[in-house]
């Protein structure tokens, strides 16, 4: 998995990287496989089970790539959230 980065510093995680692009490609594929795979599986059509299984695998890979980065982004952002919320209130009340 060296091709895929799993350890992120907050600064690195803020950048949009090749991991994000991979996620953007895998995610719609996963939806298509789940939709088509489950519909065909209900009718016991063999290719349906195969597509559904592929959909599950793609989903697992997708989240394995997304999770480490999102954990870091989320944690880092929450530290600054209060300050942003205060600014939002100031804009709505015409104080900024």
């Amino acid at each position: 998995m060296a091709f895929i980065k799993t350890k992120w510093t907050p600064e690195e995680a803020e950048e949009w990287t090749k991991e994000d692009i991979i996620i953007w490609v895998l995610s719609p594929i996963s939806y298509v496989l789940i939709s088509v795979g489950s519909a065909l599986s209900i009718f016991l059509i063999p290719i349906g089970f195969l597509l559904l299984a592929l959909g599950v695998i793609v989903t697992i890979v997708l989240f394995a790539i997304a999770n480490p980065k999102l954990n870091v982004i989320s944690g880092e952002y929450e530290k600054r959230q209060k300050e942003y919320l205060e600014r939002l209130e100031r804009i709505t009340r015409w104080e900024e």
Partner: protein, 456 residues
């Protein structure tokens, strides 16, 4: 659609796949903005008069749209009750929507969320159970497949069976357009009518990560559920393959639920219909009230309003939305074609601007406003006026989409480039807070120069 086109009809419900990319792209950016609504987001992304015009426009449009959706969904419930119990249509509309309004008025968003969770579970499981029952009632999967093949309808089990590349009423070109709109639309905000509802879900998630995952998994379950729904309609087709009147086959799901399920399950089935109805009504009552309260009342009428005042304004707006929805619902037949046209306007000409506002720093509020205004005129011309005068032929909707997108860009891109960019201070604040993707280099450079972010 499934009755008409077989499993390929699944793609009509695939527009929700905008969440595939959005969950890991625009949802993340929106969550970081902390904006309560899409209208409020406009004042974070853009600045000055243009931003205020956009915020006001979005807020007003959304109050109207939520009232319209409430009427639309409400009258559908009226029709179901008429079909089931013989009630006059207005009774189902007024009674059930009012019932929902009670808990929305008293419990607010928290009540909507808690009830919605339970309603989602009820609806999901009943759809799965009813669909399986429907398939078994038609003889089970093997018999359905055999029957379809024996009457020359085996193609209905092929999700990629189209009527041609460009020919017929369900061509491959439509499918490709839909995939582009849905999937690439995830890079933007507001590229789907569902965005405005999902934006509320994104913002009420505890963390950025929760927002991403809730959007992704919510849609995954919807698509999974749709597959079961589709299977049930295929089963219905196997039982009644010769229906040609849409009014008959459009009731397929209700026929399965009320005629095929055992008597003891019918109550659960009706509960699932109510769950879907309650969930939609409560969401839109609350959402419409939020746009009015936050973006119109608080921002433009009384910026120093107390929390107590805001809660009361929210409640009064909820009530007004409810009453307005009765009005819309009862005149829906006359309004529907016009409003579908209005929805189409939202989808076609502003699809690209909705993406550009996220991915391109130079895109400004004047370009975005121009896109909306230009699109009103262009849609009118391309969809109605020019075909009516036989200047152009009546075009399929997917062709209209590409034409409107291209013509609109010819207007709003020059306007964007001929008007000044947004204020750099404002853009830097937005960039540091939201960290958008795409073409933001000058803004990023400025943020680094000011020491607000580190260069990696």
């Amino acid at each position: 659609m499934i009755y008409k086109y077989g499993l390929a009809g699944l793609w009509y419900a695939f527009f929700s796949a905008w969440c595939a990319i959005s969950a890991f792209a625009s949802a993340r950016i929106f969550r970081r903005s902390l904006a309560y609504t899409q209208a409020e987001w406009q004042s974070l992304r853009f600045s000055g008069l243009g931003a205020e015009l956009l915020r006001g426009w979005f807020a007003g449009w959304q109050v109207f749209m939520n009232m319209f959706i409430l009427g639309w969904v409400g009258i559908a419930m009226g029709k179901v009750c008429h079909f089931l119990f013989g009630w006059p249509i207005w009774v189902g509309l007024v009674f059930f929507s009012s019932l929902v309004a009670i808990y929305v008025l008293t419990a607010g968003y928290w009540g909507v969320v808690v009830a919605d969770f339970q309603q989602g579970v009820i609806a999901f499981f009943m759809i799965i159970i009813t669909s399986i029952w429907g398939v078994m009632a038609a003889g089970g999967p093997e018999k359905i497949t055999a029957k379809l093949n024996s009457i020359g309808q085996g193609w209905r089990l092929n999700p990629f069976h189209f009527t041609g590349t460009f020919t017929g009423d369900f061509p491959l070109a439509w499918f490709i357009t839909m995939i582009v709109i849905a999937v690439l639309g995830g890079f933007g905000m507001g590229t789907s009518i569902d965005w405005y509802v999902e934006a509320q879900r994104i913002q009420s998630s505890k963390t950025v990560k929760d927002a991403s995952y809730s959007i992704w998994w919510g849609t995954a379950f919807v698509l999974f559920r749709n597959s079961f729904w589709a299977a049930a309609i295929i089963a219905f087709f196997a039982m009644f393959p010769h229906l040609t009147n849409p009014a008959e086959y459009e009731m397929a799901w209700y026929v399965i639920g009320f005629k095929v399920l055992p008597v003891g399950m019918v109550g659960f089935f009706f509960a699932s219909i109510l769950a879907i109805h309650f969930s939609t009504i409560s969401t839109h009552l609350n959402l419409g009230a939020m746009y009015f309260t936050r973006d119109i009342f608080q921002h433009y009428i009384k910026p120093d309003a107390s929390e107590r005042t805001l809660v009361w304004v929210g409640r009064i707006t909820t009530l007004v939305l409810l009453l307005g929805s009765f009005f819309y619902g009862l005149m829906m037949e006359e309004l529907t074609s016009w409003l579908i046209f209005a929805l189409w306007i939202m989808a076609a000409g502003v699809w690209l601007p909705n993406i550009l506002q996220v991915i391109w720093w130079r895109f400004n509020s004047w370009g975005y406003l121009t896109a909306w205004i230009a699109n009103l005129g262009l849609s009118w011309l391309v969809v109605w006026v020019l075909p009516a005068f036989k200047v152009i032929p009546s075009l399929p909707d997917y062709v209209q989409f590409w034409i409107l997108m291209f013509l609109g860009a010819l207007i709003y891109i020059p306007v964007t480039l001929l008007t000044p960019p947004e204020d750099m201070d404002h853009l830097v604040k937005f960039y540091v807070m939201s960290r958008p993707y795409g073409w933001w280099k000058p803004v990023k450079r400025e943020a680094i120069a000011r020491g607000l972010i580190k260069e990696v």
